[in-house]
């Protein structure tokens, strides 16, 4: 084939409905099968085996014993799950409320001098390396050398607080850092949501002297709710996955007070190398995340269905 013929040949392949779908999807499907489908099947299989990389014994089929151990063992999954969901619910609620409030505050500041720099400073926590943030916050929280204790002691005359060493406080101290990192994300989502409200409708509402609260529910919420819901869902998912922020701060301790599901799985699989048990644990997390994905898709489709009706 002469070089000049090539574009035409490729073009012809793209004109056939079957081949063009195949060509466009082939890369993504290849990636997906190699890095996801095969490993997931591997994981499912392994969850029925007793397989420890440190014992040197060949894997042994034990049926559902791994799952039974996870639910009934000394460190039952229920404790980790309830701690994780407390973390998710408290964190996401706080971040959404504060983030949305800040979003509304920043909404009317189009003419602010240095707005772009101010927003960059505000968004900076969320692009910081979580490992570095966690490590440095251990210093900020330090009972002897930390800034926070200095403020508490000299400013308010309080006794030194061991933020990360006290099992009652550690969980909330970690949650505070998580909120500091991710409140700006909810502000970003709020700004995006408010940006999707058509200006014409807002002006119309203003001319008609619609009271502010009704304007909020009728115009702003109507247009912005889709993006807000997306933001809350993304934050819920990421919060459920929290790992590398906590490891450098507490490693899940003191005791088990900051041990979320991701930390426990990380410890069992890559420190103790209990591969069978960890696979079963991962399968359970997979089921939970499939349930969360379904909620996500349901919300997205609500919008699509509504558009079809309109």
């Amino acid at each position: 084939m002469s070089p000049g013929m090539r574009p035409q040949g490729r073009g012809r392949l793209m004109d056939n409905p079957r081949t063009r779908v195949f060509i466009l999807l082939a890369p993504v499907v290849t990636f997906f099968v190699v890095f996801n489908t095969i490993p997931t099947l591997w994981l499912l299989g392994l969850s029925f085996y007793n397989h420890s990389l440190t014992s040197g014994m060949p894997p042994e089929f034990i049926g559902f014993k791994n799952f039974v151990a996870i639910f009934n063992g000394k460190n039952s999954i229920w404790f980790d799950l309830s701690r994780t969901f407390t973390f998710v619910i408290c964190g996401v609620t706080f971040q959404t409320l504060l983030g949305a409030a800040l979003g509304f505050l920043f909404w009317g500041s189009k003419n602010m001098p240095g707005r772009r720099i101010a927003l960059t400073l505000l968004f900076a926590p969320m692009v910081l390396t979580p490992v570095a943030t966690g490590t440095f916050f251990r210093f900020i929280y330090d009972p002897t050398f930390g800034v926070l204790n200095y403020i508490a002691r000299d400013g308010f005359g309080m006794a030194p607080i061991d933020f990360l060493g006290n099992p009652k406080i550690a969980f909330w101290a970690v949650l505070a850092v998580d909120s500091w990192m991710w409140t700006p994300f909810m502000t970003l989502m709020t700004l995006a949501a408010l940006g999707s409200v058509p200006k014409a409708e807002l002006e119309a509402a203003e001319i008609d002297r619609v009271p502010y609260l009704r304007r909020l529910s009728l115009v702003i919420w109507h247009h912005g709710k889709f993006i807000m819901m997306l933001g809350i869902l993304l934050r819920t998912i990421d919060s459920f996955k929290t790992l590398d922020l906590i490891i450098p701060m507490t490693k899940g301790g003191p005791g088990q007070s900051t041990r979320l599901v991701a930390l426990e799985l990380n410890k069992q699989s890559f420190e103790s190398f209990n591969m069978g048990w960890s696979s079963a644990y991962a399968v359970l997390l997979l089921l939970i995340s499939i349930a969360m994905t379904s909620v996500f898709i349901y919300v997205l489709n609500l919008r699509r269905r509504k558009e079809a009706e309109e």
Partner: protein, 275 residues
């Protein structure tokens, strides 16, 4: 009066931004202090800055390699991911093959799983095939992990581009290749940039995957920080503050330059103009 109110309003906004930035500012300040000044009580706000920490940082040979790894992995993975995702998203948006919804669902579910659960079977597979500690395979895994979010963002933007453009192009004798890359691609640029930035920042800051399926060769900075290679197990605060200050420059520059695309990107294509 209104002038005063505006000043007050802007002042409050600036104050909020600075409050959020304060801990980061503290990290940057600390990077110019000596070890004694960092640990001083009461904390020192005024001191004579020293560049010794940065000098010590770059005296390590490993640092340059780790930064190079960070750059190579994040850029490479995200470029591969955005190209692959764009093709797939175009297909999902225009031709709607059977099983589109199911595939989109599967893609998203990867993104929902906690890191260790994703990497555990991949780790076993990489060990079995001898793919561990290889730049190429780590890059491909990162690309896979960046695909779902990119497909979702791009599909939203592509759905917003009217199919009339495609039809006009076809009627005028353009091939599909021409339509995809010359007609449609330029119109979803905000989506492409948003997908690029979000995934780049993710891979840039990622530690677990690099730690588990990478190794000494592919080590990036978060990995080095976590295992405390040079930082005495994470207690050498001068090292950590200098390292962090250097490492956060790129993402912060990115969110400054591409700020409007971040906002537009998070609307998943529902807004085409300025936010």
């Amino acid at each position: 009066m209104t002038r005063l109110r505006a000043t007050l309003y802007y002042g409050i906004l600036w104050l909020i931004s600075l409050c959020f930035f304060a801990p980061i500012g503290w990290i940057v300040l600390s990077s110019f202090k000596t070890q004694n000044e960092i640990l001083a009580m009461p904390p020192k706000l005024l001191f004579s800055p020293t560049f010794d920490n940065y000098r010590a940082l770059f005296a390590n040979d490993g640092i340059f390699k780790q930064i190079a790894n960070s750059v190579f992995l994040s850029l490479g993975a995200v470029i591969v991911a955005v190209v692959v995702s764009f093709l797939a998203a175009f297909c999902f948006s225009r031709f709607k093959p059977r099983g589109t919804d199911f595939l989109m669902f599967l893609l998203l579910s990867i993104r929902m799983l906690p890191g260790p659960a994703v990497i555990l079977p991949v780790f076993l597979m990489y060990v079995a095939f001898g793919w561990k500690d290889s730049h190429l395979w780590l890059l491909l895994f990162y690309a896979m992990f960046s695909i779902p979010f990119s497909v979702w963002i791009l599909k939203g933007f592509l759905d917003g581009v009217s199919t009339r453009y495609d039809e006009t192009g076809l009627v005028n004798g353009g091939s599909w290749m021409h339509i995809i890359f010359k007609v449609v691609l330029p119109q979803v640029r905000p989506g492409l940039i948003a997908a690029f930035i979000f995934n780049l920042i993710f891979v840039w800051n990622e530690y677990l995957f690099n730690f588990i399926i990478g190794g000494v060769n592919t080590q990036n900075i978060p990995y080095a920080l976590m295992v405390g290679t040079y930082s005495d197990g994470g207690l050498n605060w001068t090292f950590i503050s200098a390292m962090t200050s250097i490492y956060m420059v790129l993402p912060i520059v990115f969110i400054f330059i591409f700020q409007k695309y971040l906002l537009v990107g998070m609307t998943f294509g529902t807004v085409r103009g300025e936010v």
